[in-house]
């Protein structure tokens, strides 16, 4: 079922593509700093597991550095941040910048409490998508999958 596809165009690109087709998407989930609202992150972890993804759960009190370290060691496809402390305008762009500075192309998805007026600024800062309270399991899974498809190695 995983036999190598007959070499048509670019076997290397083909294999890269294979990785996403035949291996589950891997997403790192974390909260930055002292924000203790982890209920949403736990809910999202279960939603993603139930959608067939592999969640590397880091939980509370992470830093951009600890997240980046986990992304490298775990070869994660997506970074999922959950932010409820009003710090999204500094925390999320800082994460995106850290990822870029490291030479990685790993999309950052944000959830939690983000006022609508801030959505555009987060998009400009390079955040892949923002989901808020009430996001359905299907929305959460689709968003993270779409982000994984945008990942480059």
């Amino acid at each position: 079922m995983t036999g190598p596809a007959a070499g048509t165009a670019g076997p290397q690109a083909e294999r890269h593509h294979d990785r996403h087709r035949r291996q589950p998407v891997r997403v790192v989930l974390a909260k930055l700093g002292l924000d203790g609202h982890d209920r949403g992150l736990k809910v999202v972890a279960r939603m993603l597991r139930d959608a067939g993804l592999e969640v590397i759960y880091l939980g509370l009190r992470q830093t951009t550095e600890s997240i980046l370290l986990a992304v490298e060691q775990e070869d994660a496809d997506v970074i999922g941040l959950s932010i409820h402390n009003g710090g999204h305008l500094t925390l999320a762009p800082r994460m995106v910048d850290a990822v870029r500075a490291a030479g990685l192309v790993v999309p950052v998805v944000v959830g939690g409490i983000v006022p609508d007026v801030d959505l555009e600024r987060l998009a400009e800062a390079g955040v892949f998508a923002v989901l808020g309270p009430g996001a359905s399991a299907a929305e959460v899974a689709e968003t993270v999958r779409a982000a994984a498809a945008a990942r480059r190695i």
């Binding site: 290397q12 291996q23 972890a45 993603l48 597991r49 969640v55 759960y57 939980g59 060691q73 190695i153």
Partner: protein, 347 residues
């Protein structure tokens, strides 16, 4: 700084290394492997993904890694969910690092049998993993591949070994045959229980007692730790062990109490292995065991999805033209000449 391996172009900027240096294709195992040898976490992370994926890429990684393996001491940490394996492993890793080791941790968790997804939460309890200078930690989901997981985990351990880690911890939930298989590939196996009869009895049932080289009664801050130790000692009195009687250590992983003593026993068991069975013998046995497993899996896949010559023989048998015993014998005979092309053997 180490010299860039031949074949890979010199990077224009020394740091940070781009994830895909111009000129080396994303799946160039040799280039990634050379970077891994230079301590590049990201390259190692990617090669572990290939190893997990199985197939030709995993074989290529294994081929690169094999000649460089053998330097690591592999410690399995197993026991019931929630007993404190991750917290304990983190403490042990810390002690080993302070002792000057290069440490890696492979944390294996079950996938959901329904969806194939998984929540890999061991890093939550591994504070040292979050800091620079800590161990290299990789989480691995079982992905429902019963035979393949032990092989994928073994491949990952080999790769971590080849990458220069001399102390490797493998955390598995001690519940099933697969976990037992993984733990068996370790040089030293620590079985963790917590106070209360339940765990010790469970451990006994699961056959964990026989595989333990060291017991740890974790959560010794709770009532009943001394009783649990006595129960284990009793079971050891009754059972038959060779020239190594597994020590029983009390620990409180959350505070780190007992971690030093536990690591001391790990070192003693390692020395015991060196002294009592020659290193070469042990490695030969491990390799033979791996060959047995790989062949087993190869045959399983061949029977489940017959292709090529196997498919022909199956058709012959189904049509009543050939006895199964004869067909099996022919296939086995040809196995000796086949190069395995086309068979998906996993990890």
């Amino acid at each position: 700084m180490t010299v860039e391996p031949t074949g890979a172009p010199a990077p224009e900027h020394p740091a940070p290394p781009p994830s895909n240096p111009a000129g080396s294709p994303p799946d160039d195992v040799a280039a990634l492997f050379a970077r891994t040898r230079n301590g590049d976490r990201r390259a190692l992370g990617r090669l572990l993904t290939y190893t997990e994926g199985g197939g030709p890429l995993a074989d290529a990684v294994a081929a690169s890694a094999w000649p460089l393996t053998g330097g690591a001491h592999v410690v399995g940490v197993t026991g019931a969910p929630g007993v404190g394996k991750s917290t304990l492993t983190d403490r042990l890793a810390q002690v080993a690092i302070d002792d000057g080791r290069r440490v890696a941790i492979l944390a294996v968790d079950p996938s959901s049998p329904l969806t194939g997804g998984a929540i890999l939460g061991d890093r939550v309890r591994m504070g040292s993993a979050a800091a620079a200078g800590g161990p290299f930690v990789r989480s691995m989901a079982s992905r429902g591949q019963s035979g393949g997981l032990a092989l994928a985990a073994l491949g990952a351990v080999r790769l971590l070994d080849a990458a220069g880690h001399d102390q490797i911890f493998v955390e598995t939930v001690g519940i099933g045959q697969v976990e037992v298989d993984i733990a068996r590939t370790a040089d030293t196996t620590i079985v963790a229980v917590s106070p209360g009869w339940g765990d010790a009895v469970q451990a006994n049932k699961a056959g964990l007692l026989e595989m333990a080289d060291i017991f740890v009664v974790n959560k010794a801050d709770r009532a009943g730790a001394a009783d649990a130790r006595r129960d284990l000692e009793h079971m050891l009195d009754l059972g038959h062990h060779g020239d190594w009687r597994p020590p029983v250590v009390l620990a409180v992983a959350t505070t780190g109490d007992g971690a030093d003593e536990l690591f001391k026993h790990v070192g003693e068991h390692r020395r015991h292995l060196r002294d009592h069975r020659s290193e070469g013998d042990r490695r030969a046995r491990q390799v033979a065991e791996e060959m047995r497993r790989r062949l087993h899996r190869w045959v399983d896949v061949l029977v489940a999805q017959p292709s090529g010559r196997a498919a022909e023989l199956f058709t012959e048998v189904a049509a009543g033209r050939l006895a199964p015993s004869l067909a099996a014998r022919r296939l086995a005979g040809e196995l000796g000449r086949a190069d395995g092309a086309g068979a998906e053997t996993g990890g």
